[in-house]
């Protein structure tokens, strides 16, 4: 946890300074490459501003919707099942082999199947992102719940807590730091999968926007899309940071 905080909790000045450095690097690189396929940042920025006035926002909105819904469902299911398995040893013994066996399978290979079975609309895309993130959250949450101090559980049990109260007062808050770390990693994966699914059989979404710009050889637009997608991921990341600050204040002590 400490490591994460060191690298993610930046001050405002540090954000600005890092962004400027990145833009400078991009600009230098574009001069060096000197190819229309790699425009300098101000061209991309110009295109971004024009795009935002046009339909880029719609694409961004669609992508945001897909990724948020997926993360939400994956978290809800992953955390619930993870806590239940972590708390109930015998159930976990039954399910663990299945998880163990299916965990290493790269779930993206199911994309074609999902397209066939669920159609090429939002549903198949959301299901695929959800599936992938779900696994990460499930395994992390279960392991965290398994390793929770017995002492916390016993002491709250001795206060007369029922199963639901144990989940609410002990398991969930005790596993929250791990869950948020899993969500951070899951967010990265979700954005990558989002891009992949949006490059197939859709007319909406930031992934489509980028690939469509590419096919038009509108490289300024393409980079505007990349900036937009990066910013989207970054804002979601900040949201998780904020959630951690609010919900896990006790961790820093």
């Amino acid at each position: 946890m400490i490591k994460w905080n060191r690298y993610t909790r930046l001050k405002r000045v540090e954000y600005i300074y890092a962004s400027l450095l990145l833009l400078l690097f991009w600009w230098g690189l574009s001069l060096l490459i000197n190819n229309t396929a790699f425009p300098p940042p101000h061209h991309a920025m110009k295109s971004l501003i024009e795009g935002l006035g046009d339909n880029l926002l719609v694409h961004l909105g669609v992508s945001l919707y897909r990724v948020l819904i997926s993360l939400f469902i994956a978290t809800l299911l992953g955390v619930s099942f993870g806590l239940i398995l972590g708390k109930n040893r015998s159930l976990d013994n039954l399910v663990a082999p299945i998880i163990y066996l299916t965990y290493p399978i790269p779930k993206v290979v199911f994309m074609p199947i999902l397209f066939i079975l669920l159609g090429i609309g939002d549903l198949s895309k959301i299901v695929l992102i959800t599936l992938i993130v779900f696994y990460q959250i499930l395994v992390t949450t279960r392991d965290a719940a398994r390793n929770l101090e017995e002492e916390y559980i016993l002491s709250v049990k001795s206060l007369g807590a029922n199963a639901w109260e144990l989940y609410w007062h002990v398991y969930l808050p005790g596993c929250l730091p791990s869950i948020l770390t899993a969500l951070r990693l899951g967010l990265g994966t979700a954005m990558a999968v989002l891009f992949l699914v949006e490059t197939y059989a859709t007319q909406k979404g930031i992934g489509y926007f980028i690939m469509e710009s590419l096919s038009r050889m509108a490289y300024d637009d393409m980079f505007a899309g990349i900036i937009a997608m990066g910013t989207l991921g970054f804002i979601l990341y900040l949201g998780l940071d904020l959630a951690e600050k609010k919900l896990c204040r006790w961790v820093k002590y």
Binding site: E149, E151, Y152, L154, S155, V156, K157, S158, L159, G160, A161, E165, H169, V170, P173, G174, L176, C248, R249, W250, Y253
Partner: protein, 258 residues
């Protein structure tokens, strides 16, 4: 059963099942403790002290034999409070929230929960710590909070598993006296586990000596020296300590089993 025996345990047997093997943790264990007394359990590591306490606390239902607290089995009896060795305070709840938890679980109305929590913090001089997290407290403070969390429930039986073992010597003596003061005010029935012979003699009005393989209570020693500060250096006190020590080492033959 004696009428004033608040806690009675007769022929208690406890097994743990592990990998199809069954581990015999307690066998033919008997114990009685009158209401308002402080009992101390002492014995070597692994002899089943924590197991015994957990069964009395109603955390472990898989036992044979009889346990009655005020004529009710542990499962039914709800006025028991348990304090574990590492205190069991939840690191994600502030002191105040930790103390409120038991009251919330008892489904008391919100205003009463808040009122009783403030009251106990005030009484025990802990109000200034209310907003802190357990990790921001010293060992002694944590122990006090754990005691406050138990007392706020107004229990009639307080069980403590090696409550002072992770404290330094000075804090430990301070906490022993703190506990005695609480006992004098509340006349709670207390049963606590210790590894420390002097602590057993200082606190235990009844001392129960346990032996391992399989775990059982092999001796009960009434101790009239308990709770008096002046007796700490006296001959009788030292005799009692020596007696207890040899009993724990298993050498003594004149067991006065009562």
């Amino acid at each position: 059963m004696n009428n004033h025996d608040f806690l009675t345990i007769q022929g208690l047997e406890v097994y743990y099942r592990q990998n199809k093997q069954s581990i015999d943790a307690l066998e033919n264990t008997n114990l009685t403790l009158a209401e308002g007394k402080i009992g101390v359990i002492i014995g070597p590591s692994g002899c089943g002290k924590s197991t015994l306490l957990n069964v009395i606390a109603g955390l472990h239902h898989d036992y044979q034999g009889e346990i009655f607290i005020d004529n009710q089995p542990p499962k039914v009896y709800s006025d028991t409070a348990l304090i574990l060795q590492e205190y069991g305070l939840l690191p994600w709840k502030t002191v105040q929230e930790n103390i409120m938890l038991g009251l919330q679980i008892k489904k008391l109305p919100k205003t009463e929960v808040i009122h009783r929590t403030e009251e106990i913090l005030e009484q025990m001089g802990l109000a200034s710590l209310a907003k802190r997290y357990p990790a921001q407290l010293s060992g002694g403070q944590r122990q006090r909070i754990a005691i406050a969390r138990s007392l706020v429930l107004k229990p009639r039986l307080l069980l403590m598993d090696e409550p002072f073992s992770s404290l330094d010597a000075l804090t430990r003596e301070e906490m022993q006296e703190y506990l005695l003061n609480i006992w004098r005010e509340t006349k709670l029935t207390i049963l606590l586990i210790t590894h420390n012979i002097e602590e057993a003699v200082f606190l235990g009005q009844e001392i129960f000596v346990m032996s391992p393989f399989p775990g059982t209570i092999k001796r009960r020693i009434p101790n009239y020296l308990a709770g008096s500060y002046d007796s700490r250096g006296k001959i009788e006190y030292l005799n009692m300590v020596n007696d207890l020590r040899s009993s724990l080492q298993g050498g003594k033959t004149n067991d006065k089993m009562e």
